[in-house]
Assembly symmetry: C2
Homo-oligomer: 180 residues x 2
DNA sequence: TATTGTTATACTCTATAACTATA
DNA sequence: TATAGTTATAGAGTATAACAATA
């Protein structure tokens, strides 16, 4: 699947009245902003040694201590084979540990270490700081309005709450089909 | 550069008042929406045989007929070596032609064919249709408000109008630095 | 010697599918 | 026979640098 961006705003064609009345495109802006915000977010939390999806996984485990890799794979939409590498890296960094499941020795349960929790908290603070900075020009009511509008687009477009499509295996993703 | 997505919304930590008051994150929503919208847009215009960046290039050339590859490379922020493949594909599809520059035989000027123009117009209609569908739940004033808010975020975050960061070479991109 | 376009190389990312050890 | 995790392999995409033709 090509994850290539939308190519530009959509100026009116003279005469035809199909397009937006102002020649600007919500889709293009979202595509631009989404990419830039993702990159900047990655830069911001890089100070903690975490990549975004490692942060996401660590947070998910912290909220469901002792889950198996399989469970996490399902929950985050990350293919099992991909998850292995992420867990490897987090374990090598001392952020989490694998234990063998007491009842099923095929399974590994995942546990956040003390260092993992500290790092997670620190990454959380950085993330919230970035959110504040990103919205620094917006009055609180404006931010509320923006959140509402984005939420409506998100539900229209078929985005699952809290699950990022970038972590999901894209090819067989139905939400990625012709149109929602 | 990792273009990995932001990992999730940001629930309040009890006590500390650094985060958003509602536990939802504009950054995360933008990251989610941007990716999904990009994918859907690609699906929508795929009917024309164009990929998003081919669409972008074809549009740019149509608006600056006879430009050289170098000029286009600069303008869109696509590395010259990458542009070659895109132009190759567009030329093979009959959408544009390379001519040798009359004054400098190193340079190739780019020209949209008749078929290219027809296809471009068709892709444009599809794109505008997608924009309409995307914003179908929004009243016109709401859409105007959304555009205004997104524009303000975009300028704050350092997004160049009409230039998509996904086309730009990410590594050496200053707008991708620690923070804007 | 510098520049345009091209090609070659290397590197990252990811998905598919084989493989192991348990069940 | 089926499942959890792992490893291996192959493909897409892209950036870097070498290259040929021209200036």
């Amino acid at each position: 699947m090509s994850t290539a961006p939308a190519p530009g705003p959509l100026p009116d064609e003279q005469g035809s009245r199909h397009g937006p009345p102002d020649g600007r495109a919500v889709g293009f802006l979202l595509s631009q902003l989404g990419l830039v915000v993702s990159r900047q977010f990655a830069e911001v939390i890089a100070a903690t040694g975490l990549e975004p999806r490692e942060f996401a996984l660590l947070r998910a485990i912290a909220g469901a201590e002792g889950s198996t890799q399989n469970a996490m794979s399902d929950r985050l939409g990350i293919p099992a084979s991909t998850l292995v590498a992420v867990v490897d890296h987090l374990e090598a960094g001392g952020f989490l540990e694998r234990h063998t499941h007491p009842l099923d020795r095929r399974s590994r349960t995942l546990h956040v270490t003390e260092q993992g929790r500290a790092t997670l908290a620190s990454a959380m603070r950085l993330a919230m700081g970035y959110e504040q900075q990103l919205c620094g020009d917006l009055a609180p009511e404006e931010r509320a309005v923006l959140l509402d509008l984005l939420d409506r687009l998100a539900s229209r477009v078929g985005v699952t709450e809290g699950v990022h499509p970038g972590l999901t295996s894209g090819a067989s993703d139905p939400s990625c089909g012709p149109l929602a």
